[in-house]
C-alpha cells in the first residue's frame, strides 16, 4: 500500500442503496413467496451482441430455483425451476437426439408451449472464465405467462426448466452475506 492509497478516500458501501436484487452475490439472503432463500451462486450467460442474462441460484429449505434478469431498455425478471427432461415426453428427447432440435410444440401438464427462439451462448459459472458453450431453446405458452426452456450442454447432456415472469417488488429483505 502506497502513501497515495493511504490518503485515497475510501468508498463506503451504503446498505440502503447498494443492497439490491440485481447486486446479489453468493451468500446473500432474500425473501420471496413467504420463504427465505440463500443465494448460492451468481452466474451469467452471454448470448453475443451485448445480450447478457444474469442468473442467481436460490436455495430454499425444500427446493432450488433460478432467478434470471435480462436487460433490454428495462430489466425483466423470471423465476425457473429445473425439471426432468423426460417429463416432456419421449418425443422431445428423441427429436433432440435424431435432429439436434426439439419439436416446435411441447405439451407439459396440459399446457402447450410453442418455440419462441433458439440461441447459442456461453455460460459463466459464478462469473468465472472460461465460458462454457451451450445452446438454448425457449418455449412459451399462449398467455406468455409460462415458459419452458431446454438447454444443451454437450452432445447428450440436456436440461429442462419451467418458469414464469416475476417482478422485482416480489423480492424483499435482501441481506448481504459476510464477505
Amino acid at each position: 500500500m502506497g502513501i497515495r492509497d493511504f490518503f485515497k478516500k475510501k468508498t463506503e458501501s451504503d446498505p440502503l442503496v447498494d443492497v439490491r436484487l440485481d447486486g446479489m452475490k453468493a451468500g446473500y439472503m432474500v425473501d420471496y413467496d413467504m420463504k427465505m432463500w440463500e443465494v448460492s451462486a451468481a452466474h451469467h450467460y452471454d448470448w453475443g451482441d451485448s445480450l447478457i442474462t444474469r442468473e442467481w441460484q436460490l436455495k430454499g429449505s425444500d427446493e432450488t430455483v433460478y432467478l434470471s434478469m435480462e436487460y433490454d431498455d428495462e430489466a425483466s425478471w423470471s423465476l425457473s425451476r429445473k425439471i426432468q427432461l423426460d417429463r416432456l415426453g419421449p418425443n422431445v428427447r428423441k427429436s433432440l437426439m435424431e435432429t439436434g432440435d426439439p419439436p416446435d410444440q411441447i405439451e407439459l401438464d396440459g399446457v402447450s408451449y410453442g418455440l419462441e427462439e433458439m440461441a447459442g451462448g456461453h455460460f459463466y459459472e459464478n462469473g468465472q472464465e472460461p465460458g462454457r458453450e451451450m445452446l438454448s431453446w425457449d418455449f412459451q405458452d399462449q398467455t406468455g405467462r409460462r415458459f419452458l426452456s431446454i438447454e444443451q450442454w454437450s452432445e447428450n447432456d440436456f436440461e429442462a426448466s419451467i418458469g414464469e415472469p416475476v417482478e422485482e417488488y416480489q423480492f424483499s429483505n435482501i441481506l448481504p452475506g459476510a464477505v
Binding site: 463506503e12 458501501s13 451504503d14 446498505p15 440502503l16 443492497v19 451468500g27 446473500y28 439472503m29 427465505m36 432463500w37 440463500e38 436455495k59 430454499g60 429449505s61 425444500d62 429483505n173 441481506l175 448481504p176 452475506g177 459476510a178
Partner: protein, 235 residues
Amino acid sequence: MSIFKRIFKVSQAEAHAIVDKIEDPIKMTEQGIRDLKRDLQGAMTSLAEVKGISVRTRREAENKKKAAADYERKAMLILQKMQNGQMEGAEAERLATEALNLKEQNSAEALRLSHEAEQHEKMSAQLQANVNKIKSTVVTYENDLTTLKARSKTAAATKKINRQISQIDSTGTVAMLEKMRARVEEDESLATAYGEMVSADKNIDNEIDAALASGSSSAPSQSLEELKKKMGIGA
C-alpha cells in the same frame, strides 16, 4: 473551591465554547448517519448469517425426513420380498429392523433440526424487525437532513439578503435619491424651457421670412432672366 479548580473550570467552559463554535451540525449529523449505516450494514450481515443457518437447518431437517421415509419404504420392500419368498425370513426381519432403526434415528434428527430451525427462524424474525427499524430510522434521518440542509441554505440566503437590506443607510440613500430626483426634474424643466425658447425664436423668424417672401421671391427670377438674356440663352 480552590483557585486551581476554578481556573480549570473556566478553561473547560472556554474550551467547550470554542468547540461549540467550530462544530458544524450538518457535518456532525452526516457523520452520525454514516455511523448508523455502518451499524446497519453489520446488523444486515449478521441477520443474513442467522437466516442462512435457519434455511440450511430447515433443509437438513427436510432431508432427514426424506431419509426417514426412504428407510421406511426400504423396510416395507424387504418385508414384501420376504412375503413373496424372495428373501429368507430372519435375514429380512433383521434388515427391516435395521432400516426401521435408521428411520427412527432420521426422524428424531429431523425433529431436532426442525425445532432448531424454528428457533433460528424466530430469532431471524426478531432481528429482521430490528434491522427494518434501523433502516427506517436511517431513511427518516436522511430525509430530515436533506430538508434541514435545504432550510438551512434558504435561511442563510434570506439572512444575507435581509442583512444587506438592513445594512443600507436609509436616510442617506433616501436623501440621495431625493436629490437625484430633484436634479432630474430641474434638468427636465430646463430642457422644456429651452425648447420653448427655441420654438418662440423660430416663430418670429418664420413670421419675418414670410413677410419678406412675397417681395423677394420675384427678384431672383428677374435677375436670372437678365443673366439669361446677357448670355443669349433663350427662354
